[in-house]
C-alpha cells in the first residue's frame, strides 16, 4: 500500500475505509472508498450505480409523452425543473408555442422548486455539520411549497408538472393568495437561517476554506450551478442561454469569491432570495388566457437533434434529444449536473479531514436518483 509522501516521518499506514452506501450523510446510496492517513483523506473513490434504473433505455422504448414522468424520478428533489428541460426541447423541435400564461406559470413553479430544493439542501447540509434547528425550520418552509405543488399538480414530490404545450390545468382558486403569503413571509425566514449559520463560529470553522476550487478548475471538472458560481464563474443558463422566457425577468446571479464550501452556501442562500423576486415578478405580470397551447395528441418531433439545457437547482441539466421522426425518441441523453459534479469530490476532499468529506458531499448537493438514473 502506498503511503502519503508528506507523512513519511510518522510512517503511518494508509487505511482504506468504506463510507456508505447506507450512510446517513451521503444523501442516498453513494459509496465512497476513502483512503485515510490518520484522519487525513489521501484519496477518495466514488462507487455509484446502486440506483441505476436505465431511464435512458426506458425512454427509447416509450413515447415522448410517456417519458415525462420518468424524469420526475431522476432528480426527485427538483422534479418540476427536471420535466421542464425535456419539454422545452420537445416543444422547440416541434415548434409548439406555449401561451404566455403557461410560460409564466412554468417559470414560477420552477423557481418555487428551486427554493424547495435549496431548502432541503440547507436542511441536510446543516444537520450533517451539526446544526439541528435549521433542519426543522427549512422543512417548515418547504412544506408550504409542497402544499402549493399539491394544489396545482396533485402531487408533492413526483409531480409530473408540465405537459407538452403548457400545463395540465390552470392555477386553482386561492393559489395566488397562498403564494403571496409565502413570499411575504419568506425573507424573514431566510434571515432566520442566516442568523443561525452565517456568522456562527462553528459553521465558519467547518465551511471556510473547505473544498476550495478555483473557477478555472471548476470548469475543467465540469461543475455547474452553485458549485461553479461559488468559485466566481458567472454561468447561469437563465442568463447565458435564456430559455422559456427568463430574459423577461430581472434577477441577479450571486457569485462567490473563494470557491469554498462557505461561498457555495452563501450563493445558494442568495439564490433563494432571487428566486423569490422572480416569482413576485411573475405574479405581478401574470397574464390571462389559456395555459396550454395547441399540441398534437401524438408527439412526433421531426427527425433531428436538439440539446436543451436548463438551469436546474443543481446546475446545468441538459437533455440531448435525438429524434428519428417517430413517436418514440431515438435517444434521450440526460446531462445530470450532479453525476458530473460528483467527480470533483475526489479532487475536493484530498488533504482534508474525514469529517470534512461530509461537508463537501453536502456542498455538492447531490441527488443519487439523478447520479445513477
Amino acid at each position: 500500500m502506498n503511503t502519503l509522501e508528506e507523512s513519511t516521518v510518522l510512517d503511518t499506514k494508509v487505511l482504506e475505509m468504506n463510507m456508505g452506501p447506507q450512510h446517513p450523510s451521503t444523501h442516498g446510496v453513494l459509496r465512497v472508498k476513502l483512503k485515510l492517513d490518520g484522519e487525513k483523506v489521501v484519496d477518495a473513490e466514488c462507487i455509484i450505480g446502486y440506483l441505476h434504473r436505465g431511464i435512458e433505455k426506458i425512454s427509447e422504448n416509450r413515447s415522448y409523452i410517456e417519458c415525462v414522468p420518468y424524469y420526475d424520478r431522476t432528480d426527485y428533489i427538483a422534479a418540476v425543473a427536471n420535466v421542464y428541460g425535456f419539454l422545452l426541447g420537445v416543444e422547440k423541435m416541434m415548434g409548439i408555442e406555449v401561451p404566455e400564461r403557461g410560460r409564466y406559470i412554468r417559470i414560477m413553479m420552477v423557481e418555487f422548486n428551486r427554493i424547495a430544493s435549496h431548502l432541503l439542501w440547507l436542511a441536510t447540509h446543516a444537520i450533517d455539520i451539526g446544526a439541528m434547528t435549521v433542519f426543522l425550520y427549512c422543512f417548515r418552509e418547504r412544506e408550504e411549497i409542497l402544499k402549493l405543488f399539491e394544489a396545482l399538480f396533485g402531487a408533492r414530490l413526483t409531480t409530473h408538472a408540465f405537459r407538452v404545450g403548457g400545463l395540465w390545468k390552470d392555477l386553482p382558486p386561492g393559489f395566488e393568495q397562498a403564494a403571496h403569503k409565502f413570499l411575504d413571509e419568506f425573507p424573514a425566514r431566510v434571515d432566520e437561517y442566516e442568523q443561525l449559520l452565517t456568522h456562527n463560529r462553528i459553521w465558519l470553522a467547518r465551511t471556510k476554506g473547505i473544498g476550495v476550487i478555483s473557477g478555472k478548475e471548476a470548469i475543467q471538472w465540469g461543475l455547474t450551478g452553485p458549485p461553479l458560481r461559488g468559485s466566481g464563474v458567472d454561468y447561469d443558463l437563465r442568463k447565458a442561454r435564456p430559455y422559456g422566457g427568463y430574459e423577461e425577468f430581472e434577477f441577479d446571479v450571486p457569485l462567490g469569491e473563494n470557491g469554498d464550501t462557505y461561498d457555495r452556501y452563501v450563493a445558494r442562500i442568495e439564490e433563494m432570495r432571487q428566486s423569490r423576486l422572480i416569482i413576485q415578478q411573475v405574479l405581478k405580470r401574470l397574464p390571462g388566457g389559456p395555459v396550454r397551447g395547441k399540441a398534437p395528441k401524438i408527439v412526433k418531433p421531426p427527425a433531428g437533434e436538439y440539446y436543451s439545457g436548463t438551469e436546474s437547482p443543481r446546475g446545468e441539466l441538459g437533455y440531448y434529444i435525438v429524434s428519428d421522426g417517430s413517436a418514440q425518441p431515438f435517444r434521450v441523453k440526460i446531462r445530470p449536473p450532479t453525476f458530473i459534479g460528483l467527480q470533483a469530490l475526489r479532487r475536493l476532499v484530498k488533504g482534508h479531514l474525514m469529517a470534512d468529506v461530509i461537508a463537501i458531499i453536502g456542498t455538492l448537493d447531490i441527488v443519487l436518483g439523478e447520479v445513477d438514473r
Binding site: 455509484i48 450505480g49 441505476h52 436505465g54 435512458e56 433505455k57 426506458i58 427509447e60 416509450r62 413515447s63 409523452i65 410517456e66 423541435m93 415548434g95 394544489a151 396533485g154 405537459r163 395540465w168 386553482p172 382558486p173 386561492g174 478555472k216 470548469i219 475543467q220 471538472w221 465540469g222 447565458a240 442561454r241 396550454r292 395528441k297 401524438i298 408527439v299 412526433k300 418531433p301 421531426p302 427527425a303 433531428g304 437533434e305 440539446y307 439545457g309 441538459g318 440531448y320 435525438v322 429524434s323 428519428d324 421522426g325 417517430s326 413517436a327 418514440q328 431515438f330 435517444r331 441523453k333 446531462r335 453525476f339 458530473i340 460528483l342 467527480q343 479532487r347 445513477d372 438514473r373
Partner: protein, 311 residues
C-alpha cells in the same frame, strides 16, 4: 414487447386528451362553474376599486375553499375515468388509429444524422410525419453552415478531417473523422479563437446496421464566446476513441458511462471500467440490439438468487 407496452402509448395519450377536454367542457356546468360565474358577477362591479379589496378577499375566501374542494373531487373522478375505460371497453377507435400511425412511423425508422452526402440530406428533408397542415410552420431541417468562421478555420487546419458542418435549430454540428478527433478537441480548447473550455456532455448514439455503427457526440461550450457547438464522430464497432480526459477532466466519468452502456473503448483513459452497472455485468444496455427486457440472467441468478422463467 408485451401486450401492455403495445396498448399503452395510444390509450395513454388518448386518455389524457379526452380527460383534458372533459375538464374543459364539463367543468362550467358543474358546481365549480357556478362558482366561476358567481365570481365573475362579483368582480364585475368593483373591478378597479382597490380599497375594498381586503373585504372582497375575505368574502371570497370561504367560497374559494368550497370551490377548491369541489374542484379536487371533480378531478379525482376524471382521473379515475381513463383507466376504467381501458379495462372495460378496451382500445377506443381513436387509439386504434393512433396505433397504426405509430406503426407506420416505426417502419421507416431512419435515425436522423447530419451527413455530407446529398442523399442523406434528402432523407432528413422529407416531411417528418404526415403532411403538415398548410398553416403550420415548416419543420426544421439540417442546413449547411454558410460563412461559419469556426468551420472555415477547422477546415483550413484539418482539411479532410472535417467532414461537414451543419446546423439544426440553430445548433451547429461538426462531423469529424476519428483520425483527427483528439487534435480537433485540443485545438478547440486551446485556440484563442475558439476557446471551448467547458465540455458540457459526451455521449454516444448507436446506428445499428451502419458501417460505422456508433457515433460519439461532444457538446462544447465557450464561457468567453458564450456559444455551444456539437461534434460528431462516427466510430465502428471495436475501434477505440482517443480519450478526452487529458483535454477536460470532466470527460472521465462521461467516457466511463459510454463504455459501460455502449461498450465503446476509449484509449488513454486512466481508469476505464463500468460505472453504473456492476463490474461483472455482461452486455451493453444502450445498444440498439439489447432488448429492454434482456438482462444478464447469469448475473441475476448469481447475485440476486432470482430465477426468471423464460418468456
Amino acid at each position: 414487447m408485451s401486450k401492455e407496452d403495445k396498448t399503452q402509448p395510444p390509450s395513454e395519450s388518448g386518455g389524457e386528451k379526452s380527460q383534458e377536454s372533459d375538464s374543459l367542457e364539463s367543468q362550467p356546468s358543474s358546481q365549480a362553474g357556478e362558482f366561476q360565474e358567481k365570481k365573475a358577477k362579483f368582480s364585475a362591479k368593483p373591478v378597479k376599486a382597490s380599497p375594498p379589496a381586503s373585504a372582497k378577499e375575505k368574502s371570497d375566501e370561504p367560497s374559494a375553499r368550497a370551490a377548491k374542494k369541489k374542484g379536487t373531487a371533480g378531478e379525482k373522478d376524471q382521473a379515475q375515468q381513463p383507466p376504467k375505460s381501458e379495462d372495460s371497453s378496451g382500445p377506443q377507435p381513436s387509439s386504434e388509429a393512433g396505433k397504426s400511425q405509430e406503426k407506420k412511423a416505426k417502419a421507416p425508422a431512419k435515425p436522423a444524422k447530419p451527413s455530407s452526402s446529398a442523399a442523406a440530406k434528402e432523407k432528413t428533408d422529407k416531411p417528418p410525419a404526415k403532411p403538415a397542415r398548410p398553416a403550420k410552420k415548416k419543420a426544421p431541417t439540417y442546413e449547411d453552415l454558410v460563412d461559419d468562421p469556426l468551420l472555415e478555420s477547422l477546415q483550413k487546419k484539418f482539411s479532410e478531417g472535417i467532414l461537414s458542418g451543419q446546423s439544426f435549430l440553430d445548433q451547429a454540428t461538426y462531423t469529424i473523422s476519428l483520425e483527427v478527433l483528439h487534435d480537433v478537441l485540443l485545438h478547440l480548447r486551446d485556440d484563442a479563437d475558439s476557446d471551448y473550455d467547458y465540455l458540457i456532455d459526451l455521449t454516444a448514439l448507436d446506428y445499428l446496421g451502419d458501417e460505422k455503427r456508433f457515433c460519439v457526440v461532444y457538446h462544447l461550450y465557450s464561457h468567453q464566446k458564450k456559444t455551444l457547438i456539437r461534434l460528431r464522430c462516427a466510430v465502428a464497432e471495436g475501434e477505440s476513441v482517443p480519450s478526452a480526459t487529458s483535454v477536460w477532466r470532466t470527460a472521465d466519468w462521461m467516457e466511463r458511462e459510454v463504455f459501460d452502456l455502449f461498450g465503446i473503448d476509449f484509449s488513454g483513459h486512466p481508469d476505464l471500467k463500468r460505472i453504473l452497472l456492476p463490474d461483472d455485468w455482461h452486455g451493453y444496455p444502450l445498444r440498439k440490439d439489447y432488448d429492454i427486457k434482456l438482462q444478464d440472467q447469469v448475473w441475476i441468478k448469481e447475485h440476486l438468487q432470482i430465477r426468471k422463467t423464460p418468456e
